[in-house]
Amino acid sequence: MTEMPLEGAWNDDRIAAAFVARDRWRPLASTLVSPTFDRLREPPMRFRAAWLRPAVALAATLLIAVVAVFGSFSYASHRLIRPSPATTGGPRSSVTAAPSTPTSMPSDRAGTVLGLPIISVADAIAVRDAGIEDRELAVRGWYTPTTIAIFGCPIILHQVLPVQLGCGDQFVWLTQDREAIQRTVGGTTEFVPPKGPAIHPSFDELGGMWPTFALRLCGPSCAPHPTSIVAIGHFDDRRASFCDANVRSQCQDRFVVDRVDSVEGRRLDLNVADTRGGDRVWTLDDIDRLDPLEPTDGRLSIQVANGRDKSLGIEPTLASDPAWSKRSAVWLVRDLVGGRLVTRVIADGASQVFELRSDGTLASHIDCRDRFCQFPAPTASPS
């Protein structure tokens, strides 16, 4: 027979006593020592990966060389990459290099952004390979804006955004060193895999306009040359779980960029993407005036999108909730809270906020129709 708990309020002392009592249920960890020492005798995964990856890279390079030789004979008339009707060439590889080379970034450019230390690509890879963190990382690296359309790769019918590599994404890199991964020789544009540490960034969260935006920032001479950027983002995005099993680890390794903080040392304003446009009630200023549900370390991005289509891919955990999935305009506000990403989905003009944690679980749903909330009055009328 189980006795009822103590009567009265659960103050700190009572909680502490309950924790201590609960700890008595803990079985003795008699089997802990031996397996731990066994694990310590094994070579760590990262080290194994470090010597495996060059082997994979070598094999891939040989394979590509063979394909390239055959390709020069068999596919001379085909155009896999076409910056213009006159160009020709083919993709070479997309093998991630091991984080073995030292950073080429000057140390005096180190710093922090939104309280996050700015780290190198190699360090970011080390964090990723440790498999511990999905927290936000501020990474400095080199990005080459791509100006050409890429054809000839398989079309993915059900691509999981923003994590799954799509057509052409395998040529998009954030590299540790200033490497030219795209070059045009004799009218032929080709991509070469980075030699140093590199990761595949995803800029989908920025509304898909980022490459154009980057080009506009650094002018015509910028592309296709490597451009130094500081990007805030994360690995192991929760949406990787929606990827097919054969590409899931690739999805987990995608660096999902939530904000580009600077380009060539030039700080950028908040990333705002309007994929909806037109009829909506609130403005950016209204969203800025919303009281956050908990204190934030900084705002990463704001996006306004159509709840019926694009947003369903962005926040699939809410796709079945008609409170927002049927809205024609929703705001996706991404904040940094305690080093992690918090996404707030706000139905335009409806005084309802869905707050998602970095793991995709719904932290709260506040319906302000029944309670006082610091929501702004609408400043515009829907058309």
């Binding site: 027979m1 189980t2 006795e3 009822m4 708990p5 103590l6 659960w10 700190d12 009572r14 909680i15 502490a16 006593a17 309950a18 924790f19 201590v20 009592a21 609960r22 700890d23 008595r24 249920w25 803990r26 079985p27 960890a29 089997t31 802990l32 020592v33 397996p35 731990t36 694990r39 310590l40 760590p44 309280g115 440790a130 498999g131 511990i132 963190e133 779980s241 908990e294 204190p295 370390d297 809270v337 305690g338 080093g339 944690r357 793991d359 679980t361 932290a363």
Partner: protein, 153 residues
């Protein structure tokens, strides 16, 4: 070793997961020991690794969508509870399962390990203000979960 195991069990509440997380902690600590620059911060450093390991194991378990049912579960559920403090422990155990892993972690570190706010900030790697906010939110969530559990009884 027992301290790490106590912490992982308090956060995860599952004996098998707690052992896995404790193992992960020791392995990670051994391999990252060279990164510890201030030996006086060893406890905070180790607890930070412990919390991260617990999170990783919890996430891995959720991905596999498998929960191992151990005999300890049955023992705990069917246990003849002799004191009221044990009754509280049972309610607390069930209530904690309603909370997310970060909320459990901060409550365990504060209430079981007795860590003050500044040490929590060091362990979790966040500002003290954020710790206050998170602790407040977690405490409120725990109270709601306890209320739900006691109303269910």
């Amino acid at each position: 070793m027992d301290g790490v195991h106590r912490l992982t069990y308090a956060i995860l509440g599952e004996p098998a997961d707690a052992q896995d997380a404790a193992q992960e902690t020791f392995v990670a600590a051994w391999r990252q020991l060279h990164r510890l620059r201030d030996p006086e911060q060893f406890d905070a450093w180790l607890q930070r690794i412990t919390v991260n390991s617990a999170r990783m194991v919890h996430r891995g378990r959720r991905r596999r969508n498998v929960r191992e049912i151990t005999t300890a579960d049955f023992e705990a559920a069917a246990k003849v509870v002799e004191t009221t403090a044990e009754g509280d422990a049972l309610v607390l155990d069930r209530a904690l399962r309603r909370l997310d892993i970060d909320q459990r972690s901060i409550l365990v570190l504060h209430h079981l390990e007795g860590r003050p706010l500044d040490e929590l900030a060091a362990i979790l790697g966040v500002p003290v203000g954020t710790v206050k906010s998170r602790l407040f939110t977690a405490r409120r969530a725990l109270q709601a979960a306890i209320d739900a559990e006691t109303n269910d009884r």
